[in-house]
Subunit: 421 residues, 2 copies
């Protein structure tokens, strides 16, 4: 059945608009016995696709990395539940076709089938514009274990993250064989994407964990203002911007040095579910909050600067002889100069998963997402230092963690299965 | 400390824009010892408030009921943790001041205080427009128990919901003394509202449960297209629209018949956390899905009609003698004609709280919200019938439930505390 669905998904896609035009046919086919249904399902689209509202799936790199950060996110990580690598590959092929359709604002699969079949598309995005949907997939280290004979395809840089000081990771919120990052300006469009890909994977994989993000916390485009995280601070002021192709090539995109051809043009993705103790933070003084970050809260300027984008002067000392940007300040610890120039591309999201059932505190924080070409010298090196020394550690706790290798972009006609061929 | 915060919150509010203008002052006050900070925090607003982007807090009725349904929602229910009804009332007074500020796109409280104090506002909405934020509060039946001497203020219609067939309610996702429904087109603005009111309540109450909704499932304005729920169907086609003042008066607003003066202009709020078995639903045929709802999936037209807003013909039979809209169809069961003409105003939201940790299924569904003037003859009567007979029951499970009395609107200068005076 799942195989049949995949075949159907691969067979045809219909644009939401075209489908709406074809609705009379479906209505007639859906005739339930009376004479009432004929032509009954002719619908009016709720919204037209907005020009420029579509981010193509195909390209040199996967979309959703250098793409200007969309407003909302749904992230899912999966365990493969079959030993049949062929099933995994046919799922990845079906995912590609479905993803291309959804990113173009179309429905998944064949929705002109007989009404005695389940619809291929689950329907909740009908009438919604593409909303800049991007679907980015990645492969976890465990996909290359003994189960599937893929050990020879594993990139050397796809290493398990080490234990960092104070990690309190929940295994049910960590790791995974395969991941999907779906970002869109409409969360219903992002949810629809993950749901429909999950459905195409039925029998092949099971969801290990899933995370919704309601607000972006990093800009990845010069055209975007720096958003604020749940500590109320601007986040990612010095983030790599997608337009900075030199920095993207230097820090984010795997180039010709790739040990696996499928990683050329790809990137390594690290996610960290970071719970924020916002109740504790909210009792801290403005001055101390600013000392923790090393920035002014309102403007985002470094404590040594006047404007948000002023370069921090890490050496500057005050009249009292102490560093103006304190020793443990987050921006000092995360500064590229401290890590051999290493930078990462962040595109995390704020999350809130309701209230802690015992204390009633917010189960909220930052779902951290970082892309880089070499986790060991970038995220891992930086995080070792942050985990040991960052003043922010008093207010956060890492509860989930994962790493994935995101293959390079797809050419027209290529599928994600081809990356593992 | 909490009391102090409340006083501060009541003292002054600053518009986000005004605050940004005053940023230099804060920057100077935040001087950390060096000469670097002077004037350093002068910021540029990220976005200007959009005209028409603000929904006033004050009016005959609380906003967030007849208001055109905003895109996103954060709902929280609280247990009062003090026995001091005076503390509850001063919190409600502080909430009113804070809510009025936030609905106007301003920050909560005094943010020009000394930097050795915690900021009153948590800051994550600085630079964001009001986004049609509405904050609607309600009082649960338990608020009127023996603890606070409020038994005499309890409206007779604020009854505990009975057990409905197949209810599987989680007490940690049900009930509560006080609730806040925050709706906005930007989820960060809605989250910020609930977070800051929760903070003002520290020491007075604790969060019992909290629910985020990512997509609206009901239109409450004639100007809105009918959105789709996670079953892919248009939801709330025949919902009461806020512009229909006759229906609002007949079904939603408590009028002169109020047994408690504070409920005049108010309404009774029922919430139900309805998990959808979307994996099972997705395996069902299109025809059966349409039979379950009694509507065509794509157009939303009743099975006896041609257009979404055609009136269902519940008596119509097909050539085979069977009802065209089947006996157990959701729209037949929910039809006002079956319940003495009773209607309710729905403004629910789709939710997804990630994956079920054991099976990996989606923990997703519909957070149902309904407003009415008489729960017994409206929601309760309808739900008794639905719980027993609705074909949809095969695909849903009610996991949370609550009822609240939402007082009438506030006049300028009045606070929510006055409603319980």
């Amino acid at each position: 059945m799942a195989r049949q669905q995949r075949t159907d998904a691969a067979r045809a896609t219909f644009s939401r608009r075209r489908l709406l035009g074809a609705a009379g046919v479906i209505g007639a086919a859906g005739l339930t016995g009376g004479g009432f249904a004929l032509g009954s399902a002719i619908a009016t689209p709720q919204k037209e696709t907005t020009a420029g509202d579509e981010t193509p799936l195909y390209g040199e790199h996967q979309a959703g990395i250098a793409t200007p950060t969309q407003d909302r996110m749904v992230f899912a990580a999966f365990d493969v539940t079959t030993g049949d690598v062929g099933a995994v590959k046919s799922m990845l092929a079906a995912w590609t076709v479905a993803a291309a359709a959804m990113c173009a604002g179309k429905q998944v699969g064949d929705n002109e089938k007989h009404p005695l079949s389940p619809p291929d598309d689950t329907g909740e995005a009908v009438g919604l514009p593409p909303s800049q949907l991007t679907i980015t997939i990645g492969f976890g280290p465990s996909l290359f274990d003994e189960r599937f004979g893929l050990a020879g395809r594993k990139p050397a840089k796809l290493v398990q993250l080490p234990h960092f000081a104070a990690d309190q990771l929940d295994p049910r919120k960590s790791d995974g064989d395969i991941c999907i990052q779906a970002c869109a300006n409409d969360p219903q469009v992002a949810f629809h994407a993950v749901r429909n890909l999950t459905r195409l994977g039925r029998g092949t994989l099971a969801t290990r964990w899933m995370q919704l993000g309601f607000g972006k916390t990093s800009a990845t485009s010069r055209a975007q203002a720096t958003p604020r995280n749940l500590f109320g601070f601007k986040d990612g002021t010095n983030n790599i911007k997608g337009e900075d192709t030199a920095a993207m090539d230097q820090f984010v995109w795997v180039g010709d040095e790739a040990d696996q051809a499928w990683m050329k043009g790809g990137s390594y993705l690290v996610t960290r579910r970071i719970n924020m103790h916002i109740e504790t933070w909210d009792r801290d003084s403005l001055k101390d909050q600013e000392a923790v970050f090393g920035r002014f809260k309102l403007s985002g300027a470094p404590l040594t600067g006047h404007e948000e984008f002023d370069a921090p002067d890490l050496a500057a000392k005050g009249d009292d002889g102490a560093e103006v940007i304190p020793t443990g300040a987050h921006i000092r610890l995360a500064a590229p100069s401290r890590h051999g120039g290493a930078r990462i591309l962040r595109r995390g999201y704020s999350f809130s998963d309701g209230a802690d059932p015992t204390l009633g505190d917010f189960d909220a924080g930052l779902f951290f997402i970082a892309y880089q070409k070499d986790p060991a010298s970038q995220f891992i090196a930086i995080q070792k230092d942050l985990a040991a020394n960052d003043a922010l550690n008093e207010y956060i706790i890492h509860t989930g963690s994962a790493i994935f290798a995101c293959p390079g972009g797809l050419q027209q006609g290529e599928t994600w299965a081809d990356k593992l061929a």
